[in-house]
């Protein structure tokens, strides 16, 4: 079963005056169960819009998004996904432990399950030392770790990550990469958007490239870049070529 499937997904924003902006146009995307899928595109291409529709923050203007075969708009479907927004914001006056407990309660976890989640996630994301500190004093990297922990509360089978490496130092990026790999090994499906193409190339099984709200390509990285031989293109070159093609067509 596909972990994510979108059928003709569209989103239109009303611009200033009567102008309408097509943020997403008939997006047909599939992400298989257990895959690491890189979602690429320039700023404003529609990546965050797609992610927000998958997480029910936005209502599509047309089409449907499915998570493990269930309509993404169903409340129960959201139990299957964990979401890390770009630059995650949490209640500043809470500590990481209180934050994880809060989200555990919202997911309907019992006290024992929430305690188990804290033990598991505080170790994985090195949160124990800062367990009692309020989030308002945290650096970008620490917030990202809390954000990742929140996405993993309840152990959902699908992780949707919006620019998880953005603004992190090399150590922070390494940590996020390691967690993504670890979650992949555990059988999770990971769908993430990123501008850091070297990370995408290292981590992903498949990628999708979005150009001005339309899916220009999706497929196995090796197939798209021309196999494993010396002629293989870099993802960066491929991405830029697709963008130029898209610019000429649109």
């Amino acid at each position: 079963m596909d972990a994510i499937r979108t059928e003709n997904l569209s989103k239109v924003y009303k611009g200033i005056g009567k102008r309408t902006v097509h943020s997403l146009t008939e997006l047909n995307l599939t992400v298989g169960e257990g895959e690491v899928f890189g979602f690429l595109g320039r700023n404003g291409a529609g990546k965050t819009t797609t992610i927000k529709i998958l997480c029910s923050l936005l209502k599509p203007a047309g089409g449907t998004a499915y998570i493990f075969g269930e309509n993404a708009r169903n409340r129960a479907t959201r139990r299957l996904l964990g979401y890390l927004p770009e630059q995650p914001y949490f209640y500043e006056y809470l500590t990481p432990k209180e934050t994880l407990d809060f989200y555990g309660r919202l997911r309907g976890l019992s006290a024992a399950e929430r305690a188990r989640d804290w033990d598991r996630l505080s170790e994985m994301l090195e949160l124990r030392e800062i367990a009692g500190d309020r989030i308002k004093s945290f650096s970008k990297g620490m917030r990202q770790r809390v954000g990742f922990a929140v996405a993993l509360v309840g152990d959902p089978p699908l992780l949707i990550l919006d620019e998880p490496m953005s603004g992190l130092d090399p150590l922070g990026r390494r940590m996020i990469r390691d967690i993504i790999r670890h979650q992949h090994e555990l059988g999770k499906t990971i769908f993430f958007s990123s501008h850091v193409l070297s990370d995408v190339e290292q981590l992903c099984d498949r990628v999708g490239i979005l150009v001005k709200g339309r899916l220009s390509k999706q497929g196995q990285i090796d197939e798209l870049l021309g196999g494993q031989d010396n002629q293989r293109e870099t993802l960066e070159d491929y991405f830029l070529r697709e963008q130029q093609k898209g610019d000429l067509q649109l």
Binding site: L57, T77, R78, L81, Y83, Y89, F90, Y91, Y93, L106
Partner: protein
């Protein structure tokens, strides 16, 4: 359960809001300053003190309801804390109700504190407190439930400043609905008269919750009236909360 979790969090957040303490400080100034007004009204001092303290409880309760209430949802959208909450397996109305219940719990605590301070002050000045004084506070709280529901609706529709202005205007209109039906004869047959008559039946009449002067002067008000006023508040609050939930259900965040 999820509503309670949101409510606990909203309460905790509001308790840490500096605006709350500024308003409580001014409430204390007015409550203790009420004696100054009493000095200029010979022989009426306890009545004046009771009247002014009830007015202070009402005014500062409404100010907290408006200022905290109108920023409640907007702040979550603006600070993007909403993203990770709405993407949880919860209904959006649970979020709205949780925010509402949290703020009402805060207003209950604030009203109790202001009432306690006022009551002790009246007793220290040698006055006595009757049941009517506390019934007046109960109806003030009913008014706050309604004003907070309007503020919450506005919070999911507009910016806090615009929302606060609209709720404040609704508050003023809500205290003057009687005027809508008693226009001078020259308005007979005009569109303005018809519109104001319609407004009379739509805009909640907040004067229904005002039994302050009865409480200050020891004039009894029947428990039947109090029960009717509570039902009136519950009905309007229900309508505004349903509207807030419907607006928020369709909202892109």
């Amino acid at each position: 359960m999820r509503i309670l979790t949101m409510a606990q969090n909203t309460f905790r957040e509001a308790v840490r809001d500096k605006v709350l303490y500024v308003l409580l400080f001014f409430a204390a100034v007015v409550i203790f300053g009420s004696k100054a007004l009493a000095w200029i009204s010979i022989g009426q001092d306890i009545k004046i003190v009771k009247d002014v303290t009830l007015a202070a409880i009402s005014l500062f309760g409404v100010l907290i309801a408006i200022f905290v209430g109108t920023s409640l949802i907007y702040k979550e959208i603006d600070k993007r804390t909403l993203y990770t909450i709405i993407s949880q397996p919860m209904h959006r109305y649970e979020f709205i109700l949780g925010k509402y219940v949290g703020l009402m719990a805060l207003l209950a605590v604030v009203t109790l504190i202001m009432t306690g301070v006022s009551a002790v002050y009246v007793l220290l000045l040698g006055g006595s407190l009757e049941k009517m004084y506390f019934l007046a506070v109960l109806l003030i709280y009913c008014k706050l439930t309604l004003v907070t529901a309007i503020a919450l609706l506005l919070s999911s529709l507009s910016s806090p400043i615009l929302g606060a202005i609209i709720v404040f205007m609704a508050y003023i209109f809500g205290h003057a609905t009687g005027v809508f039906l008693n226009l001078p004869p020259q308005f007979d047959g005009t569109l303005a008269k018809q519109l104001l008559e319609i407004a009379y039946y739509i805009v909640p009449n907040l004067s229904n919750f005002d039994i302050r002067s009865e409480a200050a002067n020891g004039v009894p008000v029947s428990l039947g009236y109090v029960a009717w006023a509570i039902t009136y508040a519950a009905a309007y609050t229900g309508v505004f909360l349903i509207l807030a939930a419907l607006v928020f259900e369709e909202k892109d965040v």
